[in-house]
Amino acid sequence: MEPIINVEKISKKFVLSHESKERYTALRDVVSQKVKNAVRGQFFKKDKGTKEEFWALQDVSFTVNQGDRVGIIGRNGAGKSTLLKILSRISDPTEGRITIRGRVASLLEVGTGFHPELTGRENIFLNGAILGMSRAEIRSKFDEIVDFAEVEKFLDTPVKRYSSGMYVRLAFAVAAHMEPEILIVDEVLAVGDAQFQKKCLGKMQDVSKNEGRTVLFVSHNIQAISNLCNRGIYLANGKIVMHNAIDATIEKYLHAGEAFSSSNDLAKRIAQSPSDPDFKLIDVAVIQDNREVVGHVVNGKELEIKLTYDLPNRVTGFRAFLDFCDDMGVTIFRTFHDEDREGIMSLEAGRYVSKIIIPPNILAPIIYDIKLLFGIHTIRMLPPHELVIRINVEQTGDYNKSYSGQFTGGKVCLSLPWTINKI
């Protein structure tokens, strides 16, 4: 059978203009530049050195068979969204050729074209038309859409009065009821509450697995991708690194190492965090073997994490804590800096260091995202919010020592005391 999507050597070039500080080209700049050049007697000379070519995609070729559910993964800027835009015909490729056999619906954003002044009912028709549904089609699905979105009571209310949750639910509901042969979805599940996200994923699974649709799906939620997709494409710097079964592709991506942040990057993120009258994070250090490490650590030795911060005022109930999460964002454990204290601690103004030592034989040989969190108990969270350090743990500990190399799949690797006796 012929593939439903055939992508042959697609490339996309952007021309970056370095000189202009503004986002848009303005005619006045073009004119004034031409005049300047004309004065120098070089009207037709191209401005050199101010422009740079950037290839968002280079020689990307792949095929997708009908019923495939393809997850596209890669770091930010790898070209994922550009690829989806080209496949959706929003943007034109610079080179190459794509053949698509079937009706395509793309969902690159939830609620594209929703107008705040219009009512829920009106927006269903508007959004449906924008997504390429006919009026008859929308009418026949109308009740299902309203049911799915749970907005019956507010159908005749302008959506500007909707809560953000209702808005997203309605928007997704319209999209979810399209019936294209090929569905292209970009990172739309990043919105909405957890329960609704689950419902959306369920709906997508339904659409793809049970109804045999072809789905192309971009998400940063690796878990969602691995649940939903059977094939994976891993993009880096505009090129395909791997196109394979989803598990193998995800594994390749996670072990590529490019996902790690350098210490410079961490310092920058700390410096850029918003200021707060009660708290300022100064430094975060991950230390092993008495030296600061970036990214790679071993689980056979102690691992020290040192948080340095200023408290400009006396604070009661200040807490620093760490969430150790796996690379899919699931928390494995949380640890508080004051968990061995009796009662709530008060700290005078000054500079402090909170330090944790994680003993050997705790961490598993996997990737952890350690979320650094700061807060005043029952009052509020303090910035920086969502500061994450990623570490890649290598197995050197005692756990399963005699059979090292065998990955057991556990998220922690505790070396626990067993006894074995012959009886």
Binding site: T25, L87, I90, D92, I100, V104, E117, L118, L131
Partner: protein, 277 residues
């Protein structure tokens, strides 16, 4: 499932103007209706008097023109119709042109969220904004009828040709609008040019005067302004004023030239809208 049926095969290649462009445009006609409907609905929802605006604006302008030109400057026109009626018959197409041009020129930028997230033939966006202005034109037209009743003025038989001139002004606004809105995506300061065209155009078009006041030898040159032919045509249909056919065809040629230029430039740049917007 209809996979593989030749109707559904889409080929994406760089620079290749989609072979099925005009068919696609037809296929997306529902989107066109619904975008026009949205613009109208939103427009009338947000204002207190809603459709009243399309009556008040031309009416006030006509009153002022009548007072300034006819009463103060004491300008007498050759038209058979009363002065106010003559001004209004010119004001009608002019207002439509200026509204449609303004709306169409800003339409792509105003719908940038759609352009960057969904595929559809982009021409739908400026076209639907011109349609919105056409509805305003319809409302203002009711006022013209009312005025004719008040002045007890019976339009001549030529009124049957009015649709031709409506199509003409539609094309004038659409062609120019297409060109400017596409330029607007690339050069954002083009939007400052439109109010200028609109304001300037009111005075270089024969809205307050009849173009028969222009000396014969300059009339062809005057008709390079496409609105000259349109306004003359409106007066010919509605009031039975004489029409200068050479200048009418001159204006028509200019309009068709603009439509061709607009469509050509729009289609040439259309593919890069999403990258630039």
């Amino acid at each position: 499932m209809t996979t593989g049926s030749p109707d559904n095969i889409i080929i994406i290649e760089p620079g290749k103007a989609a072979k099925n462009y005009w068919r696609d445009l037809w296929r997306f006609r529902e989107l066109f209706y619904i975008l026009s409907w949205r613009d109208l609905k939103v427009r009338y929802k947000q204002t207190v008097i809603g459709a009243g605006w399309s009556i008040i604006r031309p009416l006030l302008t006509t009153v002022i023109f009548t007072i300034v030109f006819n009463k103060i400057a004491n300008l007498q026109e050759t038209s058979k119709a009363p002065y106010a009626l003559m001004v209004f018959a010119g004001m009608l197409p002019w207002q439509f042109f200026s509204n449609a041009l303004t709306e169409a020129s800003n339409s792509l930028i105003g719908n940038s969220n759609l352009i960057s997230k969904v595929y559809f033939p982009r021409m739908i966006v400026p076209a639907s904004s011109v349609i919105t202005s056409l509805v305003d034109f319809g409302v203002s037209f009711l006022l013209l009828i009312a005025m004719m009743v008040i002045y007890q003025f019976l339009p001549p038989w030529q009124i049957v040709f009015l649709p031709v001139f409506i199509v003409m002004v539609f094309l004038a606004a659409f062609g120019t609008g297409l060109y400017i809105t596409a330029l607007n995506v690339k050069y954002r300061d083009f939007r400052y040019i439109i109010p200028f065209i609109v304001q300037f155009g009111l005075y270089v078009s024969p809205v307050g005067i009849s173009s028969s006041r222009i000396p014969e030898k300059w009339r062809l040159l005057y008709a390079l302004n496409p609105m000259v032919g349109v306004i003359d045509g409106f007066r010919w249909c509605l009031l039975g004023d004489p029409i200068h056919w050479p200048s009418f065809f001159m204006s028509l040629t200019i309009i068709l030239l603009f439509v061709w230029l607009g469509v050509w430039y729009f289609r040439k740049t259309e593919k890069s809208f999403a990258d630039n917007i």
